[in-house]
Amino acid sequence: MSVAQTLGKQPTAADAADAAVTLSASRPSLARRTKNRIASGAVVCAVALAAIPLALVIWAALTRGIERLDLALFTNSMWGVVGQGGGLLHALVGTLLVTGATALIAIPLGLAAAIYLTEYGGQRKLAGITRRAVDIMVSIPSIVAGLAAYALFSLLLGPGTRSGLAGAVALAMIMIPVVVRSSEEVLRLVPGDLREAGLALGSPRWRVIRKIVLPTALPGLTAGAVLGVARIIGETAPLLLVAGFTDAMNYNLAEGRMATLPVFIYTQWSSKGLDTAAYDQRAWAGALVLMAVVVVLQLAARALPPQIAKLRRNR
């Protein structure tokens, strides 16, 4: 590209490179061009390497999961089923209950902590301690959260107890730091001018937060909460430890083992009956349902961000 051609628009770095090449009237040597080509090829290969497993997993879940994706899957539990038939209704109900309870614990607590960090904490010692605690909690492996919930409930109720509520407590330990971080990030995007305008009009701080900060940040906060739910809804290990598994329906979070979708998938594989094909089919059907739920949650969270972007531009 000639200099005259670039005059009309803002020259880019690539234009500058072109100009340099034109000026010196020589292209980079063959060895350098080959290296450049190899690097570009490697980058394309890397993208393929990342995309291929995703495509293969989705393909496997679709083709193998579709075999048992019938109405009976959603209307039956596994109670009394040893071969063909049966369904995952009990696991679906369990996942809804446990995830709902987790969200009820983690979202209010995480949001309140994030409000403290952005609106009240400042440089105070407690804010520093809380941030440090959140940093450490992020690195808790999920199975360790399960063990901690098990230890808590066995201290309270005696050893060996398993319940949906214990599962929710374990998942909350994983979700709280996620909610705190995403909420804090969004709350920081709310322009300081808005807060100052409210305070200058004589509103007390809590009123500024309730009437100005939270409504402005609401889309971002919702997106963060939905992504938090998407993050924990596929968690298996902690639920395997503390919620256990069962073939029967259980609507009571506080008592008894409760099946969940991820644990259903695991146990369909781990404790098979004689008719192994039926168990494999149910496992894949469960995987397909779980992935569909996660994708829907991700898309829902993605539908919100324009509002955050607007906030970003205002800053």
Binding site: A13, A14, A16, A17, A20, R33, K35, I38, S40, V43, C45, A46, V47, L49, A50, A51, P53, L54, L56, V57, A60, L109, G110, A112, A113, I115, Y116, Y120, L126, I129, T130, A133, V134, D135, I136, M137, P141, I143, V144, A145, L147, A148, L152, L155, P159, G160, M173, V180, I233, G234, T236, A237, L241, P262, I265, Y266, W269, V295, Q298, R302
Partner: protein, 288 residues
């Protein structure tokens, strides 16, 4: 609000206290009280900690270069910002696939597909300790497990790398081009040196994730708890802490449970150490 901040900190304290209270008997427990017929706690924890690190390092080796490549594709090499965003969405989706689904896939699709490759590796590279001995006929080896975990940690590593590549000062990029650098020379001399701490931090974060990964390893790996081996393709593989806890816990009682809880503490300590190192490196990069 203050109460919530205190509560969040107390949750962490609670986790440590509950684990310590229920796990502490295991540290002094003798033979017969521990799972897997271990003589004492450290004889149990040692090989498992080796297995956790071994699988995590294999995963890191597989995931590191693709993660950097994907991050470059999403920033420097992206033909348009839209392509970068699309790639980001694909990575988010990959990160959101539940580990139990990866486990199922690794076990039923990837493992059988790897068997001929393992036989080939054994035939031509069998003189290396990694590929000696009879290769597994099921494909459920430590190498397969490491590959599955690699797929799972790739998105998080790519995300961190992408962030640090995007922070390269445009002046550096343009200066490199102005000196006649090709795109690769620009990346090598301007982007990668600036982003080095970000790349290391992403790697440490991925390593931490890999250490704690439970279900995929529990389903894919056919393991022996007290084995230390660097063989990648054998049917006899070391186990990992997380896998051992998940597979043993449902049938354990009493002192065995406290041993598993103590193992959880050890795993927590290891992954905390990794993440602290990662954060140090990242902060060094920021302050520089």
């Amino acid at each position: 609000m203050r109460a919530a901040a205190v509560a969040v900190s107390l949750v962490l304290v609670g986790v440590l206290v509950f684990l310590a209270v229920k796990g502490s008997p295991a540290f002094t427990a003798g033979a017969g009280e521990l799972p897997a017929h271990a003589a004492n706690f450290w004889a149990l924890a040692g090989p498992l900690a080796f297995g956790s690190l071994w699988v995590a390092v294999i995963a890191l080796v597989f995931a590191a270069l693709p993660a950097i490549g994907v991050a470059l594709a999403a920033t420097i090499y992206a033909p348009s910002p839209r392509f970068g965003r699309f790639l980001g969405a694909v990575l988010d989706l990959l990160a959101a696939v539940p580990s139990v689904v990866f486990g199922l896939w690794g076990l039923m699709v990837l493992a059988p597909a790897m068997v001929p490759i393992y036989e080939w590796l054994h035939r031509y590279l069998g003189w290396l300790p990694f590929f000696s001995g009879q290769p597994s006929v099921t494909g459920r080896t430590v190498l397969t497990a490491g590959m599955v975990v690699a797929v799972m940690i790739l998105p998080i590593m790519a995300a961190i790398c992408r962030e640090s590549f995007a922070l390269t000062p445009p002046a550096l990029i343009e200066a490199a081009y102005a000196l006649g650098a090709t795109r690769w020379e620009m990346v090598r001399t301007a982007v990668l040196p600036v982003a080095r701490s970000g790349i290391v931090a992403g790697g440490m974060l991925g390593l931490g994730r890999a250490l704690g990964e439970t279900m995929a390893v529990a389903m894919v790996l056919s393991a022996i708890p007290d084995l230390i081996s660097v063989n990648l393709i054998s049917s006899q593989n070391p186990s990992t802490i997380a896998q051992f806890i998940a597979s043993t816990f449902p049938e354990s009682t009493g002192s065995q449970v406290s041993a598993l809880i103590a193992l959880g503490l050890v795993l927590f300590a290891i992954s905390l150490a990794v993440s602290v190192v990662g954060r140090r490196v990242a902060q060094q990069g920021v302050s520089r």
